[in-house]
């Protein structure tokens, strides 16, 4: 229907609000007109003709549903826009309603007949033949699911000019042969279903003459009677299940229901030729596939729509049946899969965990793969670090070994040298005494130089040996010294010099020092001795103080003597270095030994001194000493090699 729009005149005298309303109304009417015009144009567009799929049975009947699906997929095409009408004759449940159905179809398709009809199963084909004159008289038909045991080849032949299709091949012979092979002890074959199953049983009896065959007409018995008959079957029986849809009392059975009912009632294996029944109790058989039937029929319909005459399309009698089995039934009857025919399909196999949870498995595998990569990278990193650590340790070990070798060399050298050097020194002294007054002045002087030199060499060697031995740790496992007690011992040792020199010693309260007492004694002894020997003042005052902080103990030994020039304040800690040119025969090892000891404990020692405020020696010991054997800190590294 077309709608003619008359533009609404706009009057200048109208109010602005009224004018906007008129404009909106006009716009809406225009849009409506345009939409209707487009629809009309769409309706007149050229479309593919419609297809009628007429099913013998009802929607939900598995066989019929599979045919419908096959037809739908067979007609699907990206280049065709087919209209598919699906109708159900419902012949099983409403067998007497075909005339009513015919009227319904005439009314429905009175305006336009379908371009082609696909008919599934015999009832629909016979319906179309019977009503041909008054219904769809010019429409070609493609059938499928038609059973050859109805004599299709004879009752279709007169109509070949407008009918062709796909025969449903019933593979009872192959199924019976298979059942007899899988159950070689079978002595009884029972076919149950509609009256045609009697012929099945008869045919089987001809091929297996030593096997008793019989049939049960399901429609003539009640369900309970059928159940009793099946339960009473003798051993070594095989049941052949044909289609039955109702019992004597008109109780309806779907394919699935009839399969489960028969397989549940019989104490024998049940075989079938209906695909829809497999999985609900029967073992299986060579089954027809409704989907393939519908697919083949749809392809034939397309050929006819493209211009091929139905008479020129041969009836397809191949069937395309396949052996189909139920895994649970095979297990129940102990039928190994290897005994099945080649290319057999087994349904309802237990699903592998992977089949059920592929997402989880792939997610897990993916996660595991990522984790593995991360772990691999981390392990590689750890390995690199360990290799680096090993290299570092190797270098450290090599350094420690080198230092150890140097120390050993110094020790052995000093130790083994001191004897012959002592001999030279002593016997030179002896020689000097023995030759006193017998040598001239020059010879005497020369002998004096030899004696002094050898004596000094002996002292240096012994000092070097003392330096090397200064950090011998055979003192016990716990380095902790009562600094007060150690200081008292040192002061006792130097008491004669302190008393005779009128020296004042002030000592504050001493803490426990994390050092071995022997080592602390050596350090304090040296510092006190230095103060007594080098201060060179009349009223010498020596002050010893201590401070115990969280991280380290600090001790200070201070005097009010002449001090040490700042330019040599660090140098005096070197081996054989002296800060006092008037120190006589002292060889300059005392402070070097002190530094070596404190370095061993991770501590430090230094001089804060000026030439006017005396000498202030400070040394610290960490409260958690980390003994460093045979290694020097940076401040003492210049003196690490005792051989200079």
């Amino acid at each position: 229907m077309e709608l003619v729009v008359h533009p609404v005149p706009v009057r200048r005298s109208r109010s602005p609000r009224r004018s906007r309303l008129d404009f909106a109304l006009a716009g809406t009417l225009c849009l409506f007109t345009l939409a209707n015009t487009a629809r009309a144009a769409e309706d007149t567009k050229d479309k593919e003709p419609n297809v009628l799929l007429l099913n013998s049975y009802h929607a939900g009947y598995r066989w019929t549903d599979s045919i419908v699906q096959g037809v739908q997929n067979g007609l699907a095409s990206p280049t065709r826009d087919l209209s598919l009408d699906i109708e159900y004759l419902d012949a099983r449940r409403q067998p007497a309603s075909s005339h009513v159905f015919a009227e319904l179809l005439r009314e429905k398709f009175s305006r336009e007949a379908p371009r082609i009809i696909i008919a599934s199963d015999d009832a629909a084909v016979q319906f179309l033949i019977q009503n041909r004159s008054t219904l769809f008289s010019n429409t070609p038909v493609v059938f499928c699911g038609v059973n050859e045991y109805h004599g299709t080849s004879s009752y279709v032949q007169p109509y070949r000019s407008w009918m062709t299709g796909v025969l449903e091949k019933i593979s009872w012979d192959e199924t019976v042969d298979l059942a007899m092979r899988l159950h070689p002890d079978t002595r009884n074959l029972v076919a149950i279903g509609d009256p045609t199953m009697g012929a099945i049983a008869d045919r089987a009896g001809l091929r297996f003459p030593y096997t008793h065959t019989s049939s049960i007409r399901a429609a003539e018995l009640s369900a309970s009677e059928i159940q009793q008959r099946l339960a009473g079957l003798p051993d070594n029986t095989v049941v052949l299940l044909g289609a039955f849809t109702q019992d004597r009392l008109h109780r309806l059975f779907t394919i699935r229901q009839s399969a489960a009912f028969v397989a549940g009632a019989a104490l024998s294996p049940v075989y079938t030729v209906t695909k829809a029944a497999v999985g609900f109790g029967p073992v299986g058989g060579k089954v027809a596939d409704g989907y393939k039937q519908g697919l083949s029929a749809a392809k034939m319909a397309l050929r006819i729509m493209d211009g091929t005459s139905p008479a020129d399309i041969p009836i397809d009698g191949s069937g395309n049946n396949e052996f189909l089995f139920d895994y649970k039934a095979l297990q129940k009857w102990n039928i190994p899969a290897r005994s099945l025919p080649p290319a057999s399909i087994v349904v309802d196999r237990p699903k592998h965990f992977y089949t059920i949870h592929p997402v989880w498995i792939w997610s897990g595998l993916g996660f595991g793969a990522v984790q593995s990569v991360i772990i691999f990278l981390l392990l590689a990193e750890v390995r690199k670090r360990r290799q680096a650590e090993i290299e570092i340790k190797g270098h450290a070990a090599a350094l420690a070994q080198s230092n150890y070798m140097l120390e050993q060399f110094a020790f052995v050298t000093a130790h083994d040298f001191q004897e012959p050097i002592r001999n030279v020194a002593i016997f030179t002294q002896l020689l000097k005494r023995r030759t006193a007054g017998q040598l001239d002045e020059e010879a005497n002087e020369a002998l004096g130089f030899v004696a002094n030199g050898s004596n000094r060499l002996f002292l240096m060697v012994r000092g070097l040996l003392a330096w090397v031995r200064s950090i011998d740790t055979d003192q016990g496992s716990v380095p902790s010294a009562d600094a007060g007690a150690v200081l008292a011992q040192v002061l006792d040792k130097h008491w004669p010099a302190i008393d005779s020199g009128h020296v004042t010693v002030d000592a504050s309260r001493m803490p426990h020092i994390p050092m071995h007492a022997t080592h602390l004694r050596q350090v304090l002894d040296q510092l006190i001795a230095n103060a007594l020997q080098h201060a060179r003042v009349d009223d010498l005052r020596i002050t010893i103080s201590a401070e115990n902080a969280v991280d380290a103990c600090t001790l200070v030994v201070q005097d009010n003597g002449v001090g040490v020039p700042s330019v040599i304040a660090e140098r005096v800690f070197g081996v054989f270095k002296k800060g006092d040119l008037e120190s006589g025969e002292r060889i300059g090892m005392g402070l070097a030994i002190c530094r070596r000891i404190l370095t061993f404990y991770g501590g430090r020692i230094w001089i804060e001194s000026t030439e006017t405020n005396g000498c202030r020696v400070v040394f610290t010991v960490p409260n958690r000493p980390d003994p460093v054997e045979s290694a020097e800190t940076a401040s003492g590294r210049e003196h690490a090699n005792p051989l200079g």
């Binding site: 001191q418 002593i426 002294q429 002896l430």
Partner: protein, 137 residues
């Protein structure tokens, strides 16, 4: 007075003998140059089978074959010799040989000065005059 001097350094052996005889003119000094002949002497084995046990042992520690500490341990283990006074006379300081210092009656470090060295004679003479050895602090 019979003194067993165990010293491998010929010069030290000469000086030590000299120091002992100067301090005690009647002293008999038997010198061996290693721990092995020292044990043979103390065990009265050949060539010292007829020798009498010493009254004092002046013992160096750093010997060539068998060190002085091994000799000292043997001396202290044997009933016949455990009471013989032993004076360690060594180039090494006392704290370098703690065991030896503990087992010996006296530990003297060999000095580098002639006069100080000769004092070892006085140490030995002190034993015979007082019958005991004051242990060094």
């Amino acid at each position: 007075m019979r003194i067993l001097l165990v010293e491998d350094n010929a010069a030290d052996a000469r000086l030590s003998s000299l120091a002992i005889r100067r301090a005690h003119s009647g002293a008999e000094v038997i010198t061996v140059d290693d721990g092995i002949p020292a044990l043979r002497y103390l065990k009265q084995e050949e060539p010292f089978k007829e020798a009498a046990l010493p009254d004092l042992v002046l013992l160096d520690l750093n010997l060539r074959a068998l060190d002085g500490i091994d000799v000292l341990r043997w001396i202290r283990q044997q009933p016949r010799t455990r009471d013989i006074p032993v004076v360690i006379f060594s180039s090494s300081p006392r704290d370098a040989h703690v065991e030896a210092a503990a087992k010996a009656d006296r530990y003297v470090e060999k000095p580098g000065d002639l006069d100080e060295y000769m004092k070892i004679g006085r140490v030995v003479a002190e034993f015979f005059s007082t019958g005991s050895l004051r242990s060094t602090p």
